[in-house]
């Protein structure tokens, strides 16, 4: 197996690629779509954000400090939790709006790092940022997607199915039995994207991380092994995250007297 050397890109290369966005802008003007301004801002944001992250990661990679790595990891968890909650049409009142997502993502992120990086990959030291941060990012990104879908399904179907849930409660069912249909639906919806993406991986799409490693000159079989590991970590993390968030969310929608408490939700300002 030959290993090709990595080809570094110049800023001129990026500028050439950026010229493609002019086509999109031109189409928007030609067809009067009115999205050229939004498109331009989005393209600039993407480039600036990624470059900034590149410099931050470069700095942290040179430090190899547990404090810096965990500090950035915590920031990623907080941003992911904020994003998960921002996508809800109905949110929990009070600090639970963020507490539920933050707690779940923190737990899943820690577990993915300890198990995936600490136990399976085993770099030395275990907190080597080159391993910890990209893997944490991939797990968090997918888990937040699952959590936000799961919680959105839970809250909207609890509101829609209120009469059915309360009928069960009125007949003496516990909150877990009364919410079981809604909870199952939310768990299924939350896990569906990762199940679908696992099934399509390798046939419909080559995952970004594997492609990146191949471009960097890594043996495709080695790159595949990493991808399989990451996919399992993502699948496990998402399943656990969705489970914790949905069960926690269902608990928050009911109280210790097994009553349905939809008054604990508020409409998000969107």
């Amino acid at each position: 197996m030959t290993q090709t050397s990595y080809i570094a890109l110049t800023y001129w290369d990026l500028a050439m690629a950026a010229s493609l966005i002019l086509i999109n802008g031109g189409l928007s003007i030609a067809f009067r779509l009115g999205i050229e301004r939004t498109l331009f801002i989005a393209a600039v944001r993407m480039a600036v954000q990624l470059m900034a992250v590149g410099f931050v990661l470069k700095f942290i990679f040179t430090q190899t400090s547990a404090l810096w790595t965990l500090g950035l990891g915590l920031c990623m968890v907080l941003f992911a939790a904020r994003e998960a909650m921002a996508r809800q049409t109905r949110r929990y009142k009070g600090w639970w709006a963020y507490g539920l997502g933050t707690g779940t993502l923190l737990f899943v992120g820690l577990l993915a790092i300890l198990f995936g990086v600490g136990v399976i990959i085993g770099p030395s030291p275990w907190y080597t940022p080159r391993f910890v941060l990209p893997i944490l990012g991939m797990v968090l990104g997918n888990t937040l997607n699952g959590i936000s879908l799961g919680l959105e399904t839970l809250t909207t179907s609890a509101l829609r199915e209120r009469a059915a849930i309360e009928a069960r409660i009125a007949l003496g069912a516990t909150r877990f039995v009364a919410m079981s249909t809604t909870t199952r639906q939310a768990l299924k919806t939350g896990m569906m994207p990762i199940v679908n993406s696992m099934a399509a991986t390798g046939i419909v799409a080559l995952p970004g991380m594997m492609t990146g490693q191949i471009l960097a000159g890594i043996d495709p079989v080695e790159a595949t092994k990493y991808q399989v590991l990451i996919t399992f970590l993502i699948a496990g993390g998402t399943a656990l995250g969705v489970f914790l968030a949905v069960i926690g969310g269902a608990r928050l929608l009911t109280d210790e007297r097994h009553r349905l408490r939809l008054d604990r939700l508020e409409k998000a300002d969107q």
Partner: protein, 198 residues
Amino acid sequence: MLRIDALEVFGLEPVSFEVSRGECIAVQGPSGSGKTVLLRALADLDPAKGQIFLNGTDRNSISGPDWRKQVRYAAAEPGWWGETPREHFAADGELDIPLESLGLNTEQLDQSISRLSTGERQRIALVRAVIDEPEILLLDEPTGALDAKATAQAERLIKRHLKTGHAVILVSHDPEQVKRLADRKLAIRSGRARMGRV
């Protein structure tokens, strides 16, 4: 049997009254006066301060589900979680209540709920509420969607429940029905609940 002591329900002054075994109390008042919230509070479906005792047992000393097995609320618009009525009954066997007496038949138990009429759904919901004989039945306009014949059939079922030593608290907008079923009347007006004769 059921003693309500200074129950604080949203929009109402504290409510206190007692219900005896075999007694039917009708709750009357204009729409939005708080009849449904009172019944929901009695079934512990919404948080409410104050005390409720069933045969001397404080509501707070037993779990919510155990309380609601004894103090049962049946909503004006019943909720359904399964495809067919049969899925809403605990046992798969024969029901103790003959459905024919309510103008229903057993085949309807296996029909899709969406294909049943509003009146049929309301009668099945009534059967579902009384089937395991709760001590107190809280009925929120149980015959609102029924014609005269079906109303009479539903009332027979309510009377049967009363005769077996249970109690009923009933919200009804029909003064004739109140006369036929109730022993006393709890009138809610301007946020105050007053017990009186029918």
